[in-house]
């Protein structure tokens, strides 16, 4: 069952939470909505669920216009960040709730709940109270409860937000596998980039009540649509330069050519990811390089994070160096080195981040 949101506008007082947002989620897909807090991602999810009503715009499930129908008629499964389990009911009754209010016969309720407890790997915990479960278990109960009445779509609001890092990683891989098993159209909201990119078929990036980019994780990472996306994905160095003779220059330093042709003298912003900067002890003059000194060296998982300062421009740079390359360079604090970008993304249009 596909989800279509069209031209959604929603304001809270003077604050415009969603500014003409349109989104399409194909049937059976698992889609992540990613954005900083206040970007409107949760509001969009709640509008799709019917927990919030849009000021204008329409929401459709497949071909049904559900814009004006009440949450309880929409038949959605909604998973809340803080689980919102019924604290006085045991796990079994929590999962059974959606079936009981629909007056399913006892026998079928029992069958369906057991089926779901098996699916979320919580067999045998039916009689426990939510307070006796760990965070990860609670979240799985919440998921089973949302899935029990066979919802048309599954909506998850920061589903792993309240869990600690390790459980989080386990649960999101598990969610991916679960989705491959049940194939219900799912939309989840997160501010965690890693989570979105690891789990989702499609990622929707939101900022200030608007969608910045929609695409597969690979697409977005390889071809960020604009400076916001580039910056939001993080681990990036920013150069503010000018267009001179078709190239973007920062003083004498030639950063690279812009992706779109820019006017002479126009200001441009260049982004270079930390792992796309090359450090060298000496420079043979091919291409353009910046002189810099090593300020800090932090070994991390997989790479060594080197912090440099280019004194000519007062520019601080973060460079990820592979362990092998690091061993070759034998960098230490205070060393004078050269830095050159291997890959640059340049945006000439004015864009406020």
């Amino acid at each position: 069952m596909s989800i279509t949101a069209q031209n959604i506008v929603k304001s809270f007082g003077a604050f415009k939470a969603l500014n003409n947002v349109s989104l399409e989620v194909g049937g059976g897909q698992l889609v992540a909505v990613l954005g900083p807090s206040g970007s409107g991602k949760s509001t969009l999810l709640r509008i799709i669920a019917g927990l919030e009503l849009p000021d204008s715009g329409t929401v459709r499930y497949q071909d049904d216009d559900v814009t004006d129908s009440h949450v309880r008629e929409r038949n959605v499964g909604f998973v809340f960040q803080h689980y919102a389990l019924f604290r006085h009911m045991n796990v079994f009754e929590n999962v059974a709730f959606g079936l009981r209010v629909r007056r399913w016969p006892n026998k079928e309720v029992e069958q369906r709940v057991n089926e779901l407890l098996q699916l979320v790997q919580l067999e045998g915990l039916g009689r426990s109270l939510p307070s006796q479960l760990s965070g990860g278990q609670r979240q799985r109960v919440a998921l089973a409860r949302a899935l029990a009445p066979q919802p048309k779509v599954l909506l998850l609001d920061e589903p792993f937000g309240a869990l600690d890092a390790k459980v989080r990683t386990e649960l999101r891989q598990w969610l991916r596998r679960l989705h491959e098993e049940i194939h219900v159209t799912s939309l989840f909201v997160t501010h965690d980039q890693e989570e979105a990119f690891e789990v989702a078929d499609q990622v929707v990036i939101m900022n200030r009540g608007q969608i910045e980019q929609v695409g597969t994780p690979g697409d977005i990472f390889e071809h960020p649509a604009n400076p916001f996306v580039m910056d939001f994905l993080g681990d990036v160095n920013v150069f503010h330069g000018r267009v001179e003779g078709g190239r973007v220059k920062l003083g004498d330093f030639d950063v690279g050519s812009p992706d779109q042709p820019g006017k002479e003298g126009q200001s441009a912003t260049a982004f270079v990811r930390s792992h796309e900067l090359e450090i060298a002890r000496s420079w043979n003059g091919r291409g353009s390089a910046l002189k810099a000194s090593v300020v800090q060296v932090n070994p991390a998982r997989g790479v060594v994070k080197v912090r440099l300062l280019a004194p000519d421009f007062g520019l601080a740079l973060n460079v990820d160096v592979g362990w092998e390359r690091f061993a070759e360079l034998r960098l230490s604090v205070g060393d004078q080195v050269y830095v050159a970008p291997r890959k640059v993304r340049v945006f000439v249009q004015d864009y406020a981040i």
């Binding site: 909604f78 919102a84 389990l85 019924f86 709730f97 959606g98 209010v101 965070g135 409860r145 869990l163």
Partner: protein
Amino acid sequence: MSEAAGGKSRRGYEDPPVVKWLLIGLAFVVMGVLVVVPLVNVFYEAFARGVRVYWANLFEDRDTLSAIFMTLKVAPVAVLLNLIFGLAAAWAIARFRFRGRALMTSLIDLPFAVSPVVAGLLFVLIFGLQGYLGPWLREENIKIIFAWPGLVLATTFVTFPIVARELIPLMEAVGSDEEVAAVSLGARAWQLFWRVTLPNVKWGILYGIILCNARAMGEFGAVAVVSGRITGQTDTMPLRVEKLFQEYNLPGAFALASLLTMLALVTLVVKVTLEWRTRREIEEAARLRTQGGTI
């Protein structure tokens, strides 16, 4: 020295043992003189002439019996009214943000601030013969003042804040997350109320009922004004106690007083138990909401 006086060891910031024991001793003496001795005395006086007389004083005096029945009639009705109002008010204040919400919150407490006698007078001014509605009520042949409806009104007014005050913080602590979840799962309004909202605050409600009932049965001032104190007709237990006392019937007065005291003791035990459970409800709510993650 400190070993002997303060148990295992005394911490540096604690007062000297002399001060500690002096204060504890003082507290015990005051408690004894003001609470325990009078309490024991009530039962001592009530049973001073034996169980037989005690029984006769309670259940063979027609007027005392009528007072007991009147209290048993008025208190439950007042409790029921307060329960309905308390739930509605707590729901409104905990769940909605509206104009006048702050005003409503403070107005709920008003009956605790007003002297019960004044409260009684308010009702006489409205429903009494000389009151605003008096002539109309007489035409319609409805008796409120000097009859049990007046007693119910006055008692309800005086106990007005109890249930609501108990429920507002509890419902705010529990929050509306579970209710939203229930609606998203397809629950209708009444299913939501019976299956989610009510079970979450049941101990708070019970606590409110017990406290409200104790206060309703013991009410004197407001009830004294609206009842007209007609012996055998509109007297309640506290009014009857005072009347017997005025008539120098001490064993009778103390016998009835002992009933009220027993009610108080039962209330105390139930209250402590329920307080413990309500506190757990609130703590649980806080824990489930904030710390959601690992246990």
